[in-house]
Symmetry: C2
């Protein structure tokens, strides 16, 4: 009874713009997470010569059985590309914090293994990092707000989760 575009086309064209308040929150998120990550990264670098991504990898390794994880699994845990993990592990290996091992059950598999030295560095760095997370993030949120943050981020991870690498 009318000649406007088909419903499908209408939906495709129709972008739901953000309200002013939503824009403000989004920009706060963008800016806030940038400065937060930069600060944590800088703290770690200055005090221990580690980047955030190197730190994250060491943490995961330290928690794993035998302090070792396969490359692909590591990539999934920290949400980085395989290639990036390969390069980063190469650097950490050069710094003697990690060694590579062959995976017993899969000929293709390579495992990254945390060395004692790597563990020692991590143990030091953890103080810096945890203090940062506390001072910059936890201290800036009420308990309820903090829980809300957790819920939101979990849903996002669930939705976009194991993606595209």
């Amino acid at each position: 009874m009318n000649d406007r575009p088909s419903l499908e086309l209408a939906e495709v064209n129709d972008t739901p713009w953000l309200s002013t308040e939503q824009q403000h929150v989004w920009r706060a998120f963008l800016g806030g997470s940038t400065v937060l990550m930069d600060q944590l990264d800088r703290d770690l670098r200055q005090a221990h010569g580690l980047s955030m991504s190197e730190y994250e990898i060491l943490v995961r390794l330290s928690e794993a059985p035998d302090r070792s994880i396969r490359m692909a699994e590591l990539a999934a845990q920290v949400a980085h590309s395989r290639s990036r993990i390969t390069h980063t592990i190469a650097r950490l290996e050069k710094a003697r914090m990690v060694t590579r091992g062959q995976c017993s059950t899969d000929g293709r598999g390579v495992t990254a293994v945390l060395t004692d030295h790597g563990f020692a560095v991590l143990a030091e760095a953890a103080h810096t990092h945890v203090r940062g997370v506390h001072d910059y993030l936890v201290a800036n949120a009420s308990a309820a707000e903090f829980e809300a943050l957790g819920r939101i981020m979990n849903r996002i991870t669930e939705q976009l989760g194991g993606r595209s690498f």
Copy 2:
């Protein structure tokens, strides 16, 4: 009346570890913001050949008087280093989305100016970006949760705000 270390030293040593729940939230934040940013970046790249940081810069320029902002001010707004802004603007200039102008009031000043072409690209890209922010973030939060997010991130920005570049 006792011989333990001075209060100052005690405080320095005493790292307040995170509770298990706090750790979970922190990791959710880390993972969630990573996949969120990656997804928004990928969407923008695929559809319009723009990175998130290029997009952010174009947005700021489009909102400024004369569609132009000085380099340092731009750096402050998007929380990037001056050097990074110089390089990014150089790329955008090569793509004819931005031109450089001399600042009238300050001989050192250089302003980035959005071209009509830059504005046109931005106008297209905005659809993709806004849809992403909506679908990946806004849709994953209740109104109350979203507001909490805003408050937290604003406090962080306030605390770590104009920093160290």
